[in-house]
Structures are given as C-alpha cells and as structure tokens.
Symmetry: C2
Subunit: 189 residues, 2 copies
C-alpha cells in the first residue's frame, strides 16, 4: 500500500487538513487533496475511502487503545480506575495540533458533528464492553462507560483549547476532581 | 389546527407506533399512518412534518421542561441538585408505555439512533446553558451537563426496561448513588 510514496497517508492528511481549514470541508475535493499532497487521486483512495475518513481513520486505533488499557488494568482496579487508565492511554496517542485542527473542521460542519457523536457513542459501548469482560455487571458497566465518555469529552475539549499546553493527564485529573466535587454536592435525600 | 378531528395528533401517533412496530419504520408510509388513524394525509401534515417527527416531536417539550426546572431551582441549589431537579421533572412528563414503544422503534433503525444521539447532545447543551444562566462558569456547567445527560441516559434505559414498573425517581436516585460509589473508588493519585 503506497510503498512508492513515503508517508503518503501523512501527506494526504496534512493536505486535507490544510484545505478543509482554507476552503471548508464541503468545498474540498479529493482531487484537490491529492494535488496539494503531490499525489494522485488513485493514491488517495488506496489510503482513504473518502475525504471524511481522513478525519475518522483514527477511531479504530482509539477503540483498540481504550479496550486494551481496560483489559490490562490490574484485576484489583475499580471500574473508574480502569476507565481512567483507558482515558490516559488515549491521551498519550493524541497529537494536540492535529486534534485542534481536526476539531475546528468537525465543529464547522453539522454532518461531521453527527459522525463524531456516533463515534463517541460507539466508544462509550467499547468502554462498557471492556468493563463487562472484567466481570462488571451490565448496569454498572454502562454507567461507568457513560461517565468515562463524559470525562473524555470534557477533558478533550479543555486539552484542545488549552493555550498553556498543559498535558492531557493534568486535564483529566482536574476533570475527575471536579466531577468528584460535583457529586459531593449531590442531593442525598 | 385539526379542530375537526379531536386528538388527531394522538391518534396519528398511536397509529404510527403500531405500524412502526408491525412493519418497521422504513416500511411505513404517511398514507398508511393516516389511513390507520382514520384521517387524511393532509391532516397528518397539519400535525407533523414527516413520519420521523412523530417520534421526535416531544424534544422541544423536554428541552423546556429541563430548562425550566433548572431555572426554578433554589439559588442555593448546587449544579447537580439543579440538574437532578431537571431530570426528575423530565421523568414526570414521560409516559413509560409510549417511551418503551418509541425506544424499540429507535433501536431498530440506525438513522433514528443518530437522530436520537443528536437530540441528546442538544439536551446536554440545554442543561449546560441553563446552569450558565445561574452563574455557573462555563467549564463547570459543561461538566455538569455531560454528567446530567449520562445520568439521564442510564436512568431512562433502566426505567424503560423495568418490568417491575418502579418509578423514574427511584431509578434516578439509584443511578446517582451508583455514580457516587463509582467516584468513591476513583484514583486519587
């Protein structure tokens, strides 16, 4: 796959992000992405099914990272410890500059926002499934999965927006502490 | 609107749910829904933009219920107390039998599932916006909104699936207690 073009996928991704930023996602064609990258359309389609996949290709990797981290968590780890390990593992594979540019494109297009929602809903299931494999009962696994993805969304937003470039783990830790505080003020009736 | 046909909207909704359940959402036409309800297509379109709207019409009401409950929460209430009041107010307007039938239709169709995800993402924003109106800072409002919708999803699932028909408030209370427990086991490093 693309062996004659070193890092063709990376060059196509960079070209696509540039063009999506300059012209908008809808206004950009695959032909333009390939031309900007100095490659052919045929090479583009060897790497991506369509221009949207340039933005969503990472989903499978993210899924595997999350699931593996939960599988690898010590048996004694609580659900939330396992989920936190998964979120930290996810953060370790993200590139903030790419994430930032990708996020800007996603937020500019309702169709991409929908696709992103579907991706995140799917990842919620991935977390819950991995917890079930640890013997967590279904209802608790679902709750921990939903809570994990709420933490993920907020951490991701803060980390992407953070001009001080503080690391993912700090943002996750703070979000977790705030969630804890939120719950401390919960109704106890 | 529909003044010659008492409760035309209710009859159309009932007919649509029956047909969606019998034939599937995609296989059901507006003409069939109107015929089953003993009404005309024209009457259908006076009440609903399309057959999908039969399932999503309630979203605006739900939005208003959530927002009003947060607005009406005592000034001293914490974010989570306000959100819990909103979730209880939402539960009070749901009809379990309708919710159950609607949920079965939604789960049978990917396009409807996507629409439902979009609705829930929107309601997350509604919660966060209402909290901002109470002077909660943006980051905390977003977290409380996400947490609130995680609670909503889990409570809703359990309440719909509960053959013992225990009330919404009990399910919400339990889900909240479990979230609390989940957080107690959180990493504190």
């Amino acid at each position: 796959m693309g062996r004659w073009e070193p890092d063709a996928a990376g060059r196509l991704r960079e070209a696509a992000l540039e063009l999506f930023g300059e012209r908008g996602f809808e206004q950009t064609t695959v032909a333009e992405i390939a031309a900007r990258a100095g490659l052919t359309e045929r090479t583009f389609f060897r790497h991506f099914a369509d221009k949207r996949e340039v933005l969503f290709r990472g989903s499978e990797g993210l899924r595997d990272t999350l699931a593996a981290a939960i599988d690898d968590a010590p048996a004694a780890a609580s659900s939330l410890e396992a989920v936190t390990a998964a979120l930290n593992a996810a953060g370790a594979v993200f590139n903030r500059e790419f994430a930032r540019r990708r996020q800007a494109v996603i937020l500019s297009n309702p169709e991409l926002q929908e696709r992103e929602l579907i991706k995140l809903a799917y990842l919620t299931e991935v977390l819950a499934d991995a917890l079930r494999r640890r013997g967590i009962r279904d209802a608790a696994a679902r709750l921990a999965g939903e809570t994990g993805m709420a933490l993920f969304r907020i951490t991701f937003e803060r980390w992407v927006a953070d001009l001080a470039e503080r690391p993912w783990t700090e943002h996750l830790h703070e979000t977790l502490a705030e969630l804890d505080e939120l719950l401390l003020a919960a109704p106890r009736a």
